[in-house]
Structure formats: C-alpha cells, structure tokens
Amino acid sequence: MPVPTPFHSRTSECCTSLLYKDWAGYYAVRSYDTYPEREYFAIRHAAGLIDVTPLFKCEVYGAGAAAFLSQIMVRNIAKLKVGQVAYCCWCDGRGKVIDDGTVARIDDTYFRVTSNWPSVAWLSRFSRGVEVTIEDSTHNIGALAIQGPYSREVAKIVSDIDVGELGFFWTTPSRIDGVDVHISRTGYTGDLGYEIWVDKKYAVKVWDAVMSAGKGYGLLPAGLDAMDITRIEAGYLLNGVDYYNANHCIIESRKSTPYELGFGWMVKLKRGSFVGRDALVVEKSRGPQRLLVGLHIDWDEHAALFAEHGLPPEIASAAWRTSIPVYGESGEQIGYANSGTWSPILKKNLALATVKAPFGKEGSKLRFEVTVEYERRTVTATVVKKPFFDPERKRA
C-alpha cells in the first residue's frame, strides 16, 4: 500500500475526484478534478502547484563528491558552479542508460541527485576508494513544483530572496514563511517554473504559504495527469515508459544508449574516463541504431477515418502510455510509440516514439496505428523536432 507524502493533508482536501495513483510507493494525485483540463490550463496560462515528493532524491557529499559524480554522469559535473543544476543521464559500463535526472551543486562538496529510480545502490558501486557519502533523502524531503507563466510572481512573494534573479537551471537556498528551503528553477512541464525542496516537517507550512501567495495568480494544485500532458509537449522522456533502466531489462534490446534517446548532447566524451565512456565512443562513431523522436500525428486523417463510420474523432482525455506500433511507408513495423497526448494548447496529436534510425530524420513520414471502430488503421505521422512546445519564458 502506498504511503502519504508530507503534503497529503493538503492535497487530499483538494482532491475531490479521489483519483490517486501509486507513484514510487506514495499516494499521488492523478487529477484533482475528474478531468485534468483545469489543472493543465492553470500550468500553461497561470500557475500549477504539483507535489513531486516521490521523485527520488539522493545526497552526495564529501571531498571527492565532484570528481566522483563526474566519473558516473555523462556530463562533467566537476564543471558545475555552486548553485548550478545539470540535467543529465548516467549509464552502465556498456553505455546503456540507467536513469536521467538532475544534479544540483548545492555546495562545493555537496550535491543532490534526483532520479526516477532509487540510485544509492548504483552510485555506491563506484565509491571504492573515494571520500564520499551517499544517502537517500527521498523520505526526508518534500518537493513542490510551481509551474506556469505566473510561477515567478508566486515564488517572488513567498521567498525571501529575489527569485527573479535565479537563472534557468540554478538553485539557491531561501526561506519561505521562516522555513529553510532550496528553490531551483527546474521542472518537468517545459514551462517557466520552480521547484521547492523542504524538510518534510515543515512541508505543510510551505504549501500553505505558496497557495495563499498564488491566490491572485490563478494558482491551482495540479495532478500527475496534467503534468504528463505538459511533459510530453515539452518532449521530456519518462524512465519506465519511454525507455527502461538498463538494470531492469531482461533482454538487451530493451536497453538504450544516450544517443538513441536524444541525450547525445549531454555526453562529453572529451574528458577523462567515466562509466560507459568506451562503449559510448563506439556508439557515437557507429551512430545509434534507433532514435527516440517526436511524432506529429495527422489530425485530419485521424478525423477522416472516424468520419468513414459516421463518428466524431475519438481521442483520450489524458496522456496515454500504451505501446502503439509505428510503420514505415511500405507497411513494415519500424518502431513503437510509448507515450503520447492530445496537446490542448497546440491542437495537435503528439507522440514520443522509438524508431529505427533511418526513419528518425526530421520530416520523415511514418504510419501510426489507430483503432477505429474495432479496426486497426493507420494515419500519417511526421517526425518533428522536440520540444513540441517551447515557450520563450521557460529560459527567460
């Protein structure tokens, strides 16, 4: 049975739909209303407040911490300045991705790593002979994400520092209603946004402060369904859905390299050795065998198929996570899409798909399976650049 997060007393008051899911062993609100629209539009037009406590967190500290993390992460963590946050992935010795997340340099010798899966055991495998301590802090820290165009205004009100100064992917210590917190300008919605990290003892106090500050800005508590739509619009991958932790794969073909996932930009090969480097050198020179791409699924064709049966076009009200086959022009299967959504703001039908490399070029026309009146049909899907939605304000 899942357990409540430190914000549960507040989120459960708002969750009139009683729609919860088990996220890493915690009760997490899927959507406060029966449908996630209101929460989605709050995130895109005003601000949404999401309880992201279940995200795994791990504290890495000690004199050797920077060098240690640089050995494991595909990015050179030692180069991070204090207060900077890096989004990156990490691989096993064969260059297959274990997980992705953020690494925040909180202090010269103190880092916080967030991840989709617990990572203490994995990180510890490389700590021999290094002066470093690795501790799981998931259950000690409450985490809230304020996301949306007005999130800065809300954050400014609650925080005792000028949040306006905080750059994209930076973090800073701060106080909210007398409580010590860390605020980082990060998020999983592809919008302007902040995440607040607080000792679970004071979690409710911070929630209340944020909610009351957000009153004038349309701030709404938002659930995972709304966040899922936004993360697909932002082109963000989800470990366990779009790809799999290499340690959790029974067969090789399920594992992925950073180049396949579009994480190639993170991989810094021209530095000292790090875990998986040798394999990644080979992978880079050979080129990935498949690619994780964004698909834009033709809506007119979709609607036309339904019209053949005299039906209006059907579409799921939330993002989907089932695996759907993707075909080439000549009809052979060349990949699969593992998540997708109707984008209410773009008015487009989107998917994140893994396809054989030759089919992954931008502009490639593929066929996407649609079930219409119990029949399997296909519609055109075009490979497009990610993110699908990328507002200026995210970085500004």
Partner: protein, 531 residues
Amino acid sequence: MPKTYDAIIVGGGHNGLVCAAYLAKAGKKVLVLEKQHVLGGAASTDEPFPGFKFSLYSYVVSLFRPHIIRELDLPSHGLEIIPLECSFLPLPDGDSLCRWADPNLTRREIARFSQKDAEVYPEFGMAMMKMAYFVKRIIDAPAPDPLSNSPAELINLLRLGRYLSSFGPDVMYQQFKMLTMSAVDFLDEWFESDILKAPMSVSGIIGTFLGVRSPGTAYVLLHHYMGEIDGAFRAWGFAKGGTGGVSLACGSAARAFGAEIRTKAKVEKFIIKNGSCDGVVLENGEEIHAQSVFSCLDPHRTFFKMAGEEHFDDDFIRQLKRYKLRGSSGKVNLAVDRFPDFSCRPGDGAHVRGDIAIAPSIDYLERAYDEAKYGDFSRRPYINVVIPSLVDPSVAPPGKHVVSCFVQYAPYDIKEGPEHWPERKEAFGDAVVDTLAEYCPTLKDSILYRQIHTPWDMERDIGLTEGNIFQGELSLEQLLFLRPAVGWSRYRTPLKNLWVCGSAAHPGGGLMGSPGELAAKTYLGSLKGPQ
C-alpha cells in the same frame, strides 16, 4: 496367468496419483495402492483433532507444475490454490521484515535495514527470473544423459547445450555458480543485510542436511522465482482444505479417467519372475498382477524391500547404498484456540497470511545446523510457520487456528540412534514451541492439541526412509542423470517392467508432480516403439 492391470502404482502420494491419472487418461487400466487410510503420502490432510484439518507434512504448494493442472484439469476436481500474501520475518528485538508482492512496499521494508539492498532486491528478482528458464527446461523434461552413446542422446545434449548458450555467457556463469555455491555466498554477492539474507537463504536448505553456508545450496533459491515464468503470478500458495487437497484432486482426476484406487492396501513385496516384475503381493497375502509396476517409494524401499537386492547387480546396489537420504526436518502441527499474536507486529493482518520464517540471522541458522551435524535436533531451529486457517476457514472452527510448523533441523540419525526418537519427541516439540513462543508470547496458553512428526515417524508412518521428505537429498551428485542411479534416471529400472515415479526420480522432491508425469509419459512413449 491373466494380467488384470496394465499398471499398478505402489504408493498414493501426489506423484503416484499424477502418474496414475496420465496413464489412465491414455486408456490404461491402472490400480493405485496406498497403505494409509488417506491418499497423499507426504502431501495429505487429516483431522486428528475434531474440527482441525492439518496438512500433515507438506504445507505449501510451491512448484506444482501448471501444465499438469491444465492437462489433468485439476481445478474441476477440487484443486484451489490460495496465494501466499507475504513473507514475514519476526525478529527477537521487536523488529520485523515483510516482503510483499507490492515492490514499493517491499522496498520500504528492506530500506529500514539497508537502502542498498532495497534497491537491488528487484534487480535480483530479475536476474533470478532469467535463470529460472533454465530450471524450467530441466524439471519439465527427462534428464539428459551425458554418458550415453546413443545418437539421440547426443543430439538432445547438443540441443540443450545450444539452448543454454543462447542465454549468453552471463546467465551461464550465474547458473554455474548457483549450482555450486552456498546460498549465503550467492546472496552475499547481492545484499549486505543479514536480516534480508537469512530468510532468503533458507529456501536453499529445506529438506537437505546442509547449512545455508554449505556449497550447493544456492540452486534452490531459483525455485522461488519459478512462478513468475510459469505465468502464474504468485504461484506459492495454500491448497484449499490443506495440502492433501492437491493429492485428492489428482486422485479424483485419476478416478475420472478410470483408474482404480485402493487405500489401506499395503504392498508387502513385488512379484518377480524370470527377471520381470509381474505384480505385487499385499500384506494380507493378496496377489495382484499387472503388465508393469510403478513404484513411487524411495529407492531403499523400492529396490531393497519390495524387490530384493538379489535382483540387481553389485554396481547398482552399491550406488543405491550410498544414495543419501538423511532426513533433516520435522513437522509440528498445532491446534490453537485463538490467533497467536506476534509481539513485533500484532494482529492477524496480511503479514501473517503468508509464510512466517523464524530465521533471525545467518549465524542463527548455521548454529541450528551445527547442532544437527553432531546428532541432535536444533534447540533453536529454523521454523517455517504458516497459519492456513487465516485464509481458509475450512480447516479450523471459527476463531480457532491451525499453526503448521516446518522445522529444521531434526536429523534422522540422532546420536542416541534414530530408534530413540520416540523418547526425544516431546522435547523436540517443546523446543519448537519454546522457540516460537519467544515471538508469540500467548502461543503456549492457546495450544489445544499438538502433533509432532519426527523423521523417525515419517519413516514409520508414510514410509519415507530416514524421514527424507524429498526421497533423497537434492544435492548435485544425486540430481539429473544421477538420480537415483547412473543410467537409471529415465524412470526405468534394471528390473524389467518395474518403473519408478516418485520424488527419488528426476527432477526430484517437492510438490511438483513432475516425476509422476514424466514417468507416465516416458512409459507411454516406450509403448509406441523402441527408443
């Protein structure tokens, strides 16, 4: 002389009944002879105390092959398996560990003892699952024989080799290690916490006279992951109405296919004429003849007692004489008038509705083994407790419970000599109850009735030589093509028309049904033509 039956099956345990059902299904005229008044042998249920149904010996259904359930349609004969919900480890210091089907819950439980172990636990499960395919291939087919010169065997061997190497070197290496390593060494490679390793390691020693640190005990760890690849989520469970339910369902299926089953029919001797086994003589002198005789007794009983040494060559006899039986476990069944609360985690919640292990540390288990090595039962034994009445109300009156304790170690060969077990029996029962009472303080006062089975009792009551529940230790030199003797792992025996179909045949003991099934199928295959 008229041959009245195609086959007589000596012993109405689950393997004998499975064998009978398959033979009858193929149209053979089959007779099963069981000496007890109930069917099931080591897998039987009885009501020795009014209102309380005890699974006398075997207590959980683990590896019973799903395809046998399908092929014999056992559910329509009353087989129902209720899954175990949890593995619960109470600890003497008031703490405890539960492992659940819910991975997140299990992770949190383990993390209290080791964060790293909690994270690695699912990865371990994955690795085991991969390897369980290998075991499946081994237990679902007759053992390959590397010493045979027949081309069919060589091809079979090559095919198996190719199948194994298709898993890649990693899995093969792990497999090789599992076959030879100790359970503790193998778990040490993955985990750091004793609290987690101790209850996991015990699956490697059940029914063997070995400790958790003895090499060769790692292999059985895999059995816990077999359910996953059989497509039967959480395959371990209680048979409704007690473990005898499995045997009764097999018996009912056999009858439905036309087999005849007689209980209280004790076989005294096989009838052997001109080097061929023609039938059996019962205790009352009745002679019954058949084309073939299938024995699901252990090798000592089959070859020395029922057939007679004189019918076999020296080499075969020598092999059987060194075949290790060495019973090492006992069983204590308790009828109690209220639920025995565990002080570390009170209440009759889901945590006690699975198996409960008294195995607080690896040293504890090793010490229990050390006592047994030198000819005594363990004062503080490993106990596997189940309380089936919590999930199956049919086995105890309302509010009352059946507490089944599988106990290790209780060596057959105690230093006074096995015949002195009757004098030690109550002391053994006390040791078990005392141990358990350390975790359940109210237990002693609630006991209405206590039933104790020592290895000596098992030998006398259900004919398991030396009280070995697997009819022979499951150690590598007694498995595969070596079980029960070199060259005779294919259910035939050196004696014409005598077959074996019990746990002493490949793939061995446990509530699997495989030896019975494979013996029947091999026999039926041999009728179709020369091998």
